[in-house]
Each structure stands twice: as C-alpha cells, then as structure tokens.
Symmetry: none
Amino acid sequence: MALRCDVLAVGTELLLGQIIDSNSAWIGGELAAGGIDSLVQVKVGDNVGRIEVQLRRLLDDADAVIMCGGLGPTHDDLTRDAIAAVMGVELVEDEAIGDLIREMFEARGRPMPESNLRQAQVPVGASIIPQTRGTAPGLICPVIVGGVEKVMYAVPGVPNEMKDMFERAILPDLRQRSGEESVIVSRVLRTWGDSESGLNERLNDVIEQLEGPDTPTLAFLASGWEGLKVRLTAKAETLEAGEQQLSYWEGVVRAEIDNLVFGVDDDTMESVVLDLCRQRGLTLAVAESVTGGLVGARLTGVAGSSDVFRGSIVSYASDVKQQLLGVGDGPVVSEVAARQMAAGVRDKLGADIGLSLTGVAGPDEQDGQPVGTLYFGMVGPGFEEVRHVRLPALREQMRQFSVITALGFLRGHLDELPIK
Amino acid sequence: MALRCDVLAVGTELLLGQIIDSNSAWIGGELAAGGIDSLVQVKVGDNVGRIEVQLRRLLDDADAVIMCGGLGPTHDDLTRDAIAAVMGVELVEDEAIGDLIREMFEARGRPMPESNLRQAQVPVGASIIPQTRGTAPGLICPVIVGGVEKVMYAVPGVPNEMKDMFERAILPDLRQRSGEESVIVSRVLRTWGDSESGLNERLNDVIEQLEGPDTPTLAFLASGWEGLKVRLTAKAETLEAGEQQLSYWEGVVRAEIDNLVFGVDDDTMESVVLDLCRQRGLTLAVAESVTGGLVGARLTGVAGSSDVFRGSIVSYASDVKQQLLGVGDGPVVSEVAARQMAAGVRDKLGADIGLSLTGVAGPDEQDGQPVGTLYFGMVGPGFEEVRHVRLPALREQMRQFSVITALGFLRGHLDELPIK
C-alpha cells in the first residue's frame, strides 16, 4: 500500500489565472516516480480560514500534504498560520533563521523591514528545511490526525526553491516514512489513425489482462489532432524491473496496434518523418497551399532538420501554383493539381521526395469542393500517391488535421523503403 | 455577495504531471472578469469514487462547480457517472446526441465503435451544451444541496472546446443565476514593443486616475512573444454605458501609448497586417528561412487572407536561396541576403511587398553568427529596410519572436502608407 501525499498550492494569483500552477504537476510526477501516490491536488487563495479547511480535508484522506507558497514576508503569506492552527500550536521565532535573515539584509546594505521576521516564525514541534536560494525556510510539520501520525510539508512557491527542497528533504523523508522501495516508470506509445474508442476496442483483451495487481496500468491520453497516446505505467522494485515490464507489455500492445504506433515518448510525427528520411538518405521538399506553411514550420521546428528538409513553396495564389510548380489550368483543389504540385516542388527544389497539400479551409467552398476537403500528394523513390480526405470544417482544425494526415501517410511510405 | 463557482479538473494525467492543468487558471481569470468568485480549484484522477467525494465537498461551499475533462468515450471517462451519483439520478441516452455522433462518424466514413455512445449519456434532469468542435457535449446539471439549488457544469478537457462552451453557455448561465443586474464589459488593447514595467511607467498617471470606485479597472496580461495586453474592465448598469466608459478610457490610454497599440480585442498582428495591406490594395509575399513557414502559416490562419497573401518561398537550404531567390554567394545570414530574399520573393511571386527572414535558431551558430541572430527585410512601395536583432537563443522562442518582430516592423511601414 503506497503512501499518499496530496498537494495544496496556496496563492490567490493561482485562482485568478495570473500564474498557472505548474508546481503541483511537477511534484505529482516526481512523487509517482518515487512510488508515492498523489490523488488530489488543490489550489486555494490567501485566506487563512480556507487554507486551514482545505488542509484538514486533505489530511483526512492523505498520509502527507505538501503546501506550496504563502511562506513570504507579507501580510497575505498565511501558510505558517494555517499549519499552526491545524497542529494546535503557537508560532515562535527561530533565532537562527531570524539572525540569518538579518544578516542577509546587512550583507546587501539594506534596512530590514520588521515584517521579514515573519519568515522566521515556526510552529512549535516543526522542523526546518534550510534555504539554499532564498530567505523563507521550508517546514516539516508532524501532526496526529484521528490517532494516526501524518505530516505537512511547506515550501516556497518559487519553482527552483520548491524543487530544491523537495529533492533535498521532502522526497527522502517521504520515502523513509513509506518504508517502500518500489519505483514507478511509464512509457508512452504515440498512435495516429484511429479514435480513442477504436483503440479501446482493439486493446480490450490487453486491458483485461492488465487488470491484475502486479501488471502495469494502461491509459489513453488525448492529444487532439496529434492522435492518441497509450501510456503504460509500471510499479516495480527496481528501475530495470520496471523497464522490463514496460518492454514486455509494449510488445503485447504493439501486437494489436503496431500499424498505428508511429513513435515512443518524445517522438513527434515530424521528428519520425525526418528520421525515416535521414536513415534512407533522402531529402524532402513540400508544396503547401491550404496549410500556408504549417508543414514546413513543423519540420523545421526539429533541430537538425536541415539535412533532410530543403524547403517549400507556399503557392497560395492559383497562378503561383501554375508559374512555380507547373500546375496546369483547371481546378487547383483536385487530384491532378496535388500530383503536379508534389512533382513540381520535388524538381524545383531538387529533393528526393515531394509532398503537396491543396484543399479548402473555408469559409467558402472552392472549385465546387466543400470546406474540409483535402488532396495531398506524395512522390518519391518507388511511390507516387494522391489521397483525398474530408476533414473537420473549422479552419484551424482543418489545417492542423491536414498537416498530421499528410505526414502520417508519408510516414507509411517511408516505413516501407529499405534503410541505406 | 458574488456568486462562488469552484473548479474540478478531472484526469490522472494532471496528477502525474503529464499535462499541466491550465484550464482551471483560465476559467478562474474569466470568472473574476465576470464578477464571480472562484475560491478553490481541485485536480482529481479518473476514479469515480474520488471524483464524487471532491464534487460533494466543493458543492458544500460553492454555488456552482465547473468540471473539466472525463467526458470522453472510454472506460476511464467517469465525470458523467460521478455527476449522476451526486444528483441521485440515472444516466439515459440523449437520442439527438446519439444521432449526431453517428452522423459525424458517417461523414468521415469511419465505423463508429459502440462505446462512443457513452458520450450521449446524460443524467436525468440535466440540460445539454451542444458541441461545435468535438463529439462530447457539455452538461448543465442542477442539484439541491442542503435545501439550496446549486449547479454543476461539465465540459471537455480539450482547451478550445472548454473555452467555447464556457463563453457560450456557462458564463451567461452563471451571470443569470447571480441575479447581478450590472453588466461587466472589457476591452483589450493589444500592444507590442515595450516591457510590462515600461508600459507601467508610461501609464502611471492613468492607473492612478483609475483607482476611483466608478472607473474601469486596468490590468496587464502577458501574452509571451505576442506582446502585452492592456485590459480595461468596466462595471455598468447597461452594456451601452459600459462601452461608453471603455471608449473614453481607451482614448486616455491610447494618448499615452498609441504607437505601441497594434489592435483591439481579437485582433492579431497578422490580421492587422493583412487589413493594412487590404486597405491599401497591396499584396504580400514572404521569403522564410529560419522560420521555415511560420509567417505564411500565421497569415493564412486568417480567413480571407488570399486576397492579400500570394504565397511564400521557404528557402531552408542555402542553394535554394540562390536558385529561387537570386541570393548571391556569401553568408546567407546577413543584411545583404535578407535584402535579396525580400526583393527576390516579391519579384518571383509578383507581389507589391516582399518580407524576408533569415537567422540562426540553433543548436549551432551559422556564418559566424550566434544563435538568436535575425535579419529581416521589408521591400514595398516607398520603403526598403533590413533590420538586425538579437533574440532569445531557445529554438522555438527564437522562431516565434522572429515572426512577431518582422510582422511588427512591417506593420509600422504599412501604417505610414496612405489608404487607397
């Protein structure tokens, strides 16, 4: 039974959206990697009564609570007061910290506002996490809840101070309390080409096998038009054992959906397409109309793309398609135009592969084709294909779907070419 | 006494730090601007029991709760079930939504897995927020808590679907329930070219004047490389009165920073550049290197851009710059190359204005120029300029800053040309 450590982020600015609370997400990830559960994470404003209420509620269910923020010197830094209330003790000044703060101001030759000594206030019975970067120390505060010993940790909201104290003091303390050795590792399979429910059905049997106690868990993470992520998370005694479990179950999952899996963890469709080209010694050029440059922008977002990507011609006006890409008269949103654009840009830019996209993003139809229409062409060594798909009719969605769709099908062709 | 609407974000991936919950922060900011308090925001995983517990706790204190996420078709989408449990009612299929989902799959020529109909399940007594972008509808679920009528809203976790439903259905419903007669209107001035502290100094006097009780509030909203937003928010008895206040104070603000203001509310730098060209009967062509297509992609993201934007040449490989754009030998990251690219693309694509960008996004320096170097050229009727700037050295930041910087300076030139 893993230890449970929930998180309470304190600060009105977090509720007003002036700052996005990324601390609790980071802590959650680190706790999971440390084999500790974090099941509820709460944001509350600078109000001592509400902080206390939320803190008590979290302590009812969790073994430990990490509080971020509210440790500064001002009147609305109230984390210390809420903790003292929950512990039922007084706040007293820690002389060592008080002296430290005074010295810091003297060292900077600045007068110290008295309020700064608030940061030296410590609940009776709490121990201190010394600062290495700022002035406000962190706190480790044991508390008895329903006869059970639990613990509250308080750290500053400044990310680098929080992370330093978490790694240096909190995680070791939690690991010790948990007495548990297990680690949690996860692996993400990037898929493209089926819906969430479709994947769910393909993987039904696997998901049932994974319901055992000692097997990894499987989750689907939506990533919009980028496809779906299948995440395997394993708990094991060692990192190696965990990775072994993941590799075994990755194989089981791939056996069901391998044609849909384009990458792992940090892979993106564009990084995979570039790698496939590089492994085969092929260069790529793109002719874009409806996407206006999105394909080139994504490819060049990958560092090192210049050895594969030669460039693109964004032929937004029809006569540019004709003059620069050798597209004939007739409709420019058509199979013929897509083929001519792909071949044209490949020749014009002297690349091995030509990829083209022409379609209708709206608001009006074009060449008698409805909004959402996409033709894309792929011309390369041993393949020449034009595809026609109907995509969502919202402009930006249609364009983004066009990019991932064209790259996804190009990936299929590259996959079948031999590696040099 | 303002209405209180708390937020419950649902998804194990949020607790594991695989996705940072930015939805609740956005909602909190919008609620505040609408005069509604959001005092507690909670993240919980895909566990129906825990979702229900957190939902009940929030409903004890708040008048309303907005739930984000967990509305998908799979076995770990449990928001509907938790809501039904709290309401003490059954889930029944809404035929209209069921048909809609079936039709969406037919339209895309895909077979529909049965599990998709989970998304048509609605708690008895709930009303529906129709989808305009995805398949899962939102829900408005009234519930009696301690004899008081309260309400739960459920929206998808996908940000653009969530924001659409919030603005279209949830905020209006909350405003109505709050019984607040006053309306809150706001206007955003988009600025580019100065820091927050810089704007703060320029607007010091205005901010002091705005400290009165019946004046609008002024807030700075950072929007990364897109510049800073100055938001005026006014509370008034009627929409007209509110707009009048805003117009008056917009004038006062503009008097101080007019040269920095490029647009209002939904204007973007690219939509403004396109409008300025259109008003002057000018067409635009772009030569991109370091940005790989980002400029064209942004321009064509604006509906109706085709009457101004002719296209672009993404000359990523140096020899493409030379062959297609007439760039001479010598360094391609230079003032000379930027000038030749701008003139070359203008001629090649038969446009009135040529814009070019060449620089170093890293990881390695190029032509002896450090990462972060940008040269951009602007050639048009009555102006010809090349500028050299040093930008942040992180690849994607450098590219994005390059786009907004080049468009920002082009806007300056267009602004000075007479309207046809």
